[in-house]
């Protein structure tokens, strides 16, 4: 399936784009997606942390992604 991933802040700078399209196996987990991104963009490993959001909620690592999910990479937030 095809996943679209929105990127923000330093993650957008690391990837060089505000959106990423990835080909992923059906029912790929959040943990797998994170591993795939870490391998593809090693600079992500230097971040304090990063999370994945699905449909505006923080997703647990064992969540299985679906093609129409609104996925975003969330580097360490610093609002306020």
């Amino acid at each position: 399936m095809k996943l679209k991933i929105a990127l923000f802040g330093i993650a957008k700078e690391i990837v060089g784009s505000s959106q990423l399209e990835l080909e992923a196996p059906e029912r790929q987990s959040v943990a797998d997606l994170i591993a795939q991104l870490r391998a593809q963009y090693p600079a992500l490993n230097a971040l304090t942390s990063f999370a994945v959001a699905v449909n505006s909620e923080y997703a647990p690592e064992d969540y299985c992604l679906r093609e129409n999910d609104e996925i975003a990479l969330i580097p360490p937030v610093s609002g306020g």
């Binding site: 929105a6 923000f8 802040g9 330093i10 957008k12 700078e13 230097a46 971040l47 304090t48 959001a53 505006s56 909620e57 923080y58 609104e70 975003a72 969330i74 580097p75 360490p76 937030v77 610093s78 609002g79 306020g80």
Partner: protein, 138 residues
């Protein structure tokens, strides 16, 4: 609940007016502004980037959590700015009204502390000689 993300200057007086309540004797307000320095470096300005839909959703959630913890909460307002900010500009305003004052302090502090943990907004500090995404690296 008055929950907004905006790229326009925040009208603090209007935020305060939005939490007025005849049953409330206490209003606590936290205003976060852009400082002229950060970790010893002189800050020239800030850029706030937000994941808009999720940011508003999470701000709303934080307000709802505060209401669960402080059921006596009368009104809540959370307004966060995004885009380019200069020194002294208001980045965020949280205002809550409650019948008695201790609850207004506790609820307001809970909200701003939690916002800083969960709301997807990113601050880039611009210095005279570079810029840094705050908190990105250990």
């Amino acid at each position: 609940m008055n929950i907004h993300l905006t790229d326009q200057p925040i009208d603090v007086a209007a935020v305060l007016a939005s939490v007025q309540d005849e049953g409330a004797g206490a209003v606590n307000t936290f205003i976060g502004t852009v400082r002229n320095q950060s970790t010893g470096r002189r800050v020239v300005r800030l850029d706030y980037e937000a994941y808009d839909a999720m940011a508003v959703h999470q701000m709303r959630r934080v307000a709802e959590q505060a209401r669960e913890k402080w059921p006596m909460l009368c009104q809540v307002a959370i307004i966060h700015r995004k885009g380019r900010l200069e020194i002294g500009d208001v980045a965020v305003v949280v205002a809550v009204s409650t019948p008695h004052r201790a609850d207004s302090f506790a609820a307001c502090q809970y909200i701003i502390d939690t916002i800083k943990q969960v709301v997807p907004i990113w601050k880039k500090e611009e210095y005279e000689d570079g810029s840094v995404w705050v908190a990105a690296h250990p």
